[in-house]
């Protein structure tokens, strides 16, 4: 203790720096540019070092805060601190009508907007009792968008996970492919993310001209290029050295912690809600549920890679079964009346629709006005809708009290639940392995904090 040169907290300008006396002994807080002090404190025999990794850290996938207790390079205790991205989306939903809710839930987990929208919309439809009236074409489009979204989300997970290990080419290749997926979202829904495309009763608008051809081109391109990332990683000794046996969590651990998604499937259990409790007609598509039995970060990478290929197969089947038809439920008391169209300045109100309500039909105008300002009423009750998102079970608990606004909507987000596995996967490993383990959980803080 004698040669420690820490400045007492009250003498520094930074209220968080310096040394404080606590009941556990002196606590040194280091904030940068004080390496000499750190070395001095370490030499003085202080045995506990607590490192705050995050919330602003490039490799924590957003504002995740990891609180690590270190013994040298070894992590002896790890805890996750969340809440830095809490935006009160669930509270806001209670002040908007049922259709507007889509615009909010899509912003929860911003890497899988179509899954958020679909989970919420399936809940509203089940409360309305119209789940059997959704047109076939709308369901096919929903499945196609969700599978494209699964591809883009997995690519994001693999790309950022690779970047954090120093595999920059994996990142560039992954983002290149993801960008093409987002181009499709932009073409079909008008927006790369936060699309609010899936609506109660169907989808916001039909596929634009040329969409099917674009998706076909995309599939050809993806089948040609998806092997690139595999060639970089699968048998790469450095990649395997960084991921094999890292972030280990076996089946018993996953069960206890409620872990679903690729993490659960990397333990060898083929649990996929698209197969076991299908929705949106998934039971009619042909695809496999890939698993590995390694329980580690490498196995999760392999599962994600294989799922991308399965999703490509599903998208192909969607294109084959697209038949002309409506994309919104026939019930005019629910179907959103405002039609959109692409004009000279981008997506906007359809001029045909404006002409109809302003010039042709007073009833259509009243109807439009009532539905857009007041919205529709949903009979009272509650439902819990689970769907298989790229990260695991995404559940929407939707409660109605019979009004035009949701009484309560709660999202069981897989990132929120799966981050509970941080202590189990990180404790006892090196600091560098924490990065890999957390990346293999694939948390998205927008969904976690909502």
């Amino acid at each position: 203790m004698s040669d420690v040169t820490f400045t007492p907290a009250e003498e520094t300008e930074d209220p968080y720096a310096g040394v404080r006396d606590t009941t556990e002994g002196p606590v040194y807080t280091v904030t940068g540019q004080d390496w000499e002090d750190v070395v001095g404190a370490a030499a003085a025999g202080e045995e506990r070092i607590v490192v705050n990794m995050g919330p602003q850290h490039p490799s924590t996938h957003g504002v995740l805060r990891l609180i690590l207790e270190l013994d040298g390079e070894m992590v002896t205790e790890a805890r996750a601190g969340i809440g830095y991205l809490h935006t009160g989306i669930e509270k806001n939903l209670e002040y908007r009508n049922w259709t507007q809710g889509v615009t909010f839930v899509t912003r929860m987990d911003y890497a899988m907007p179509f899954h958020n929208e679909t989970a919420y919309v399936l809940g509203v439809e089940k409360l309305l009792g119209i789940e059997d009236d959704i047109p076939e074409r709308a369901n096919v489009i929903r499945v196609m968008m969700m599978e494209l979204n699964r591809i883009s989300s997995h690519l994001l997970a693999i790309a950022t996970g690779g970047m954090e290990m120093g595999a920059l080419t994996v990142m560039t290749a992954g983002f290149r492919d993801r960008e093409r997926t987002l181009d499709l979202f932009e073409l079909i829904s008008g927006l790369r993310m936060n699309s609010a495309y899936v609506r109660p009763g169907g989808v916001a608008q039909d596929l634009p001209p040329g969409a099917v051809e674009s998706v076909r081109d995309y599939l050809t391109w993806m089948w040609d290029h998806i092997g690139e990332i595999e060639a970089f990683c699968n048998e790469n000794p450095i990649f395997k050295g960084r991921t094999v046996d890292i972030g280990y969590l076996d089946l018993a651990g996953c069960m206890a912690l409620g872990i679903t998604g690729p993490m659960l499937r990397s333990t060898g259990l083929p649990w996929d809600l698209r197969k076991s409790q299908p929705y949106c007609g998934y039971e009619t598509y042909e695809f496999d549920v890939p698993t590995t039995d390694t329980c580690d970060a490498y196995g999760r990478y392999l599962v994600r890679m294989a799922e991308i290929k399965e999703s490509l197969k599903i998208v192909e089947q969607c294109l084959d079964r697209l038949r002309p038809g409506p994309v919104m439920v026939q019930d005019k008391k629910i179907a959103w009346p405002a039609q959109l169209a692409v004009g000279a300045d981008g997506m906007g109100n359809s001029l045909d629709h404006i002409r109809h309500i302003m010039g042709e039909s007073m009833e259509a105008l009243i109807h439009h006005f009532k539905l857009v300002t007041e919205g529709f009423r949903v009979p009272p009750g509650q439902v819990y809708i689970p769907i298989e998102s790229p990260r695991g079970e995404l559940g929407a608990h939707v409660v109605s009290e019979g009004g035009t606004r949701p009484w309560r909507v709660h999202f069981r987000d897989p990132s929120f639940n799966n981050l509970q596995a941080v202590p189990a996967t990180c404790e006892g490993s090196m600091v560098a392995d924490v990065i890999v383990a957390v990346a293999s959980i694939d948390p998205v803080m927008g969904g976690c904090d909502r």
């Binding site: 409790q277 559940g395 009290e401 009004g403």
Partner: protein, 245 residues
């Protein structure tokens, strides 16, 4: 509209209750068709009585239920009996609605019951996927509801559990000893509703800052917000805009 008549003759001129089957009770919070509270009843529908058909309130859903739910109830009853617990002591009511089953558990028995749900071979609900709260300020003595979603991978089925507690005594036993995954979910429910989960290992706030006053998802907690001005027009914050029931 400002000076009201001293007597309101409306009560006498209202028709008597129509004859026929008994109607559901009046809704605790809704009245009229459009929910206008701030001005006179210009629509003429303001005195309309809204019937409360919420399956969450009221008694158990009358049988018969779908086969799967009858079977689940049977297996649950047998498991309770095997554990030496009386069915009526544990179960308050069972609601089957829209193809989903929700068992209302008496809160003092929750910790025992979830253990049976997890361990009994006929039930084997391995996972508790979600815990969330709902606030019904109009249900006196039953304001706060906690709803649990259990998943059985072995039998590929789900069941919802629900526990009710009053605002004046917001305590519910924690189920983290049985389902460790409920840890964060219970913290979140505490954070948003102020429901205290007894025997939780570390019941602290999780989404809101540690020193945050109040519990934001409760209905008596305002949304907040400021008016926004755009080209001379002012848009009020969302909770002050016109709303419809």
């Amino acid at each position: 509209m400002t000076d009201k008549p001293e007597e309101t003759p409306e009560e006498e001129s209202l028709p008597a209750e129509p004859e026929g089957p008994e109607l559901p009770p009046a809704h605790p919070s809704r009245r009229g068709m459009f929910g206008a509270q701030d001005a006179g009843d210009t629509s003429g529908y303001g005195r309309l009585v809204v019937r409360d058909t919420s399956p969450t309130r009221g008694d158990s859903t009358p049988r018969p239920w779908a086969d799967e739910f009858e079977r689940l109830d049977e297996e649950f009853g047998a498991a309770l009996q095997q554990a030496g617990q009386a069915y009526d002591d544990a179960v308050e009511k069972i609601v089957v609605d829209r193809g989903q089953m929700v068992i209302f558990i008496k809160r003092e028995r929750l910790a025992d019951v979830v253990k049976i749900f997890r361990d009994d071979p006929a039930l084997r609900f391995e996972m508790c996927t979600s815990v969330s709260g709902v606030h019904y300020p109009e249900e006196t003595g039953r304001e706060l509801h906690v709803s649990y979603q259990l998943l059985s991978i072995t039998h590929n089925r789900r069941v919802g559990l629900e526990v009710v507690c009053p605002d004046s005594d917001p305590h519910v036993p924690s189920i983290t000893a049985t389902y460790p995954s409920a840890n964060w979910h219970e913290r979140e429910t505490y954070d948003f509703f102020g429901i205290i989960f007894d025997d939780h290992p570390a019941l602290t706030r999780i989404e809101m800052p540690d020193d945050w006053p109040g519990h934001p998802q409760r209905k008596d907690y305002p949304l907040g917000g400021i008016p926004v001005e755009y080209k001379g027009a002012t848009i009020p914050p969302p909770n002050e805009r016109r709303s419809y029931q």
